[in-house]
Amino acid sequence: MDPVFMAEVLVRLLPPLGLTILLSVTALAIATPLGLALGAWRAELPDRHPAARLIDAWVFFVRGTPILIQIFAVYFILPKLGLQPPLFVMGVGALVGNSAGYQIEIGRAAVQSVPKGQWEAALALGFDRRASLRQFILPQAARRMVGPVMNELSQLIKASSVLSVITLFELHKAAEAISSANLRFSEVIVVEGFLYFVFIFGISLIAKAVERRLSAAGGLADAGSFAR
């Protein structure tokens, strides 16, 4: 272990870390409103509705295949359709498709976890379904979404490392390139791991603090999972 080399690597990995964060944050900013809205809508749709089937199929595909396959699908199929967007757009697109699929489930579970009595009370007070949903159910459901959505950001940072397979120079790809150019694998991996860890651990600390303040009961926050 050579501390000077590692310090050098740390400096060189900062711009790729920025790209990793930009990718994840952009994807989250698009996927969260999309996924949560679709999920809340899906909670209200009957199972046989065509839109419900479409949403279910999306969730089934996203949760039933590794993110690597979803990235390949974007990377190989778009050019076949005559589209050649920049890698960054493809990467964000793959992450959005993936994350929205998981967030649909977050939104749906949050809406469905609001006790039935809340619906009945709102309807009994003379609000129609739409108004009940907007004024009574969604505000309660929103609190339960906060924890899982913050967790989603660290999931996206982890998932964005897989974009290295389409030669997008985010943190993992850059680290890989530096280590194979210098043939010093362990030192670079330690620095790379340190950067990922600081970020993901930091986010999880913030998420825990926010959740404690909202004290969103309902047990929707899970330990998180490691694979997409």
Partner: protein, 216 residues
């Protein structure tokens, strides 16, 4: 863009063989997970303070890393300290350890969710602390552990796709090299997706059955 069924069936056998490798590597790492996770959970719940802190730090570090980084670490950094593993066994080790860390958290939170009363009652009855955990708390926690644990198995299968970067010949690696070899894109991508959907769908079907069985 038309679908070429002839190409679809030509390459199918190779991908089915690769699906066997995916299953093998996932099952072996599940085995390692089941071996390590209880040890980590017990170390964190029952160990002396220094052990507890070490285990907790290990869990937090692995949880803070993308699985791809753990895989790369096992493959590139472990040989430096004399541990040389083939891609396959390196994958089993990396996925097994990552899976164990998440599973240990599942076990811990299940035991903690039982409430303090159970432990206090057992201690008051004169059980030693470790006997109370093993004989009283763990059997009760098991019902809450099994369903999320099967879910972790589905995650292991998905994560096994990452082993394509260390050239383990599982579905993703074989599919990717077939695409570059033949330029048959859609048909092979569909095969890869369908094979994963079948395997992961099967696992989550079993997990739902198990959950229903335990609820009764």
């Amino acid at each position: 863009m038309s679908f070429d069924w002839a190409a679809f069936f030509e390459y199918l056998p190779r991908l089915i063989k690769a699906a066997g490798v995916t299953l093998q590597v996932s099952l072996l790492s599940l085995g390692l997970t089941c071996l390590l996770a209880p040890l980590l959970a017990m170390g964190r719940l029952l160990g002396p303070p220094p052990l507890r802190a070490t285990v907790q730090a290990f869990i937090e570090v692995i949880r803070g890393l993308p699985p791809l980084v753990v895989i790369a670490f096992c493959y590139f950094a472990l040989p430096k300290i004399g541990v040389v593993l083939s891609g396959f066994w390196c994958g089993v080790l990396a996925l097994g350890v990552v899976g164990a860390v998440y599973a240990a958290e599942i076990i811990r939170s299940a035991i903690e969710s039982l409430g303090k009363g159970q432990l206090e009652a057992a201690l008051a009855l004169g059980f030693a602390r470790w006997r109370a955990v093993l004989d009283i708390l763990l059997p009760q926690a098991l019902r809450r552990i099994l369903p999320p644990l099967t879910n972790e198995f589905a995650n292991l299968i998905k994560a096994s796709s990452l082993l394509s970067v260390i050239s383990v010949h599982e579905i993703s690696q074989v599919g990717q090299s077939l695409i570059f070899e033949t330029f048959v894109v859609i048909e092979i991508l569909v095969q890869m997706a369908v094979l994963y959907l079948i395997i992961i769908g099967g696992v989550s079907f079993l997990s739902r059955r198990l959950e229903k069985g335990l609820a009764e």
